[in-house]
Amino acid sequence: MSQQIIFFILAAITLTSAVVVVTIRNLFHAALALMVSFLGVAGIYVLLEAPFLGMAQLLVYIGAISILIIFAIMMTRRLMQTNESPFNSQAVGALVGAALALVILFVVIIRLYPMAPGDGVGQSAMAVDPAILQSSVARMGRSFVSAEAYVLPFEVASVLLLAALVGSIVIAWPRRGEEDNQ
């Protein structure tokens, strides 16, 4: 019962701030709302007994990606003070499309999975030994680097990060003399 209340609080925080993110004109406030939304999602992870991922969410999204976003907002600041609408010409169509997608997803989910809390499969979290959940982080670390699990995606992730770093530097770093033409 108390878990359900916490779920509803977290879901309300997440969704409300997500709506604020996509509708508010002030981009800085949108970034703040985005952070609140991320926090809500981190709470959801903790509620799903994946606290490591919740903390990773905090570390990566709040601690790093938000800073990138705010820096980017800061650097492109001059254009932010217009009174133009924050939406483009297809906003109405987008709203209809997103609402349609939402309805379809809801129908599918409700058809496929039971909605009422109970004891069946999918009605409550699978009952497992707490020790298994406690050791899930170590298990995850092991499967990152074990040959029969995810060592290949793990190295690919590293290459992806390397590519992102190099690519971003190439893109964002001004070439020599570029400022002169500005």
Partner: protein
């Protein structure tokens, strides 16, 4: 005692809000924020299925971490593009970046 479907509904709602942001916003940074919301929705799904179906394996957590990685890489490159485009074109409005069109 939370049914799996509640998490899925939350994730679906978050995904559609993000989708709306991506489709409707003019500013490129706001579009990227929408993408981040969508990726978060995906991660909620992954973790929820992990907890409800295979809590004794690490598959859901591992892939959620990879999604996190992809999200970070996407944000880094995307925002670098925004900064670079802003420097060259003086605009971050996605609709106005249509050089290829003409």
């Amino acid at each position: 005692m939370i049914p799996l479907s509640w998490y899925l509904l939350l994730s679906a709602a978050l995904f559609c809000i993000g989708l709306y942001g991506v489709l409707a916003r003019r500013n490129a940074i706001a579009i990227l924020m929408g993408v981040e919301l969508m990726l978060n929705a995906v991660n909620i799904n992954l973790v929820a299925f992990w907890r409800y179906l295979t809590p004794d394996r690490s598959v859901g957590l591992v892939w959620a971490t990879f999604v996190l990685t992809v999200a970070a890489a996407e944000a880094a490159v995307g925002l670098a593009l925004v900064i670079s485009v802003y420097r060259n074109r003086d605009s971050v409005i996605a609709e106005e970046l249509d050089t290829l069109k003409n």
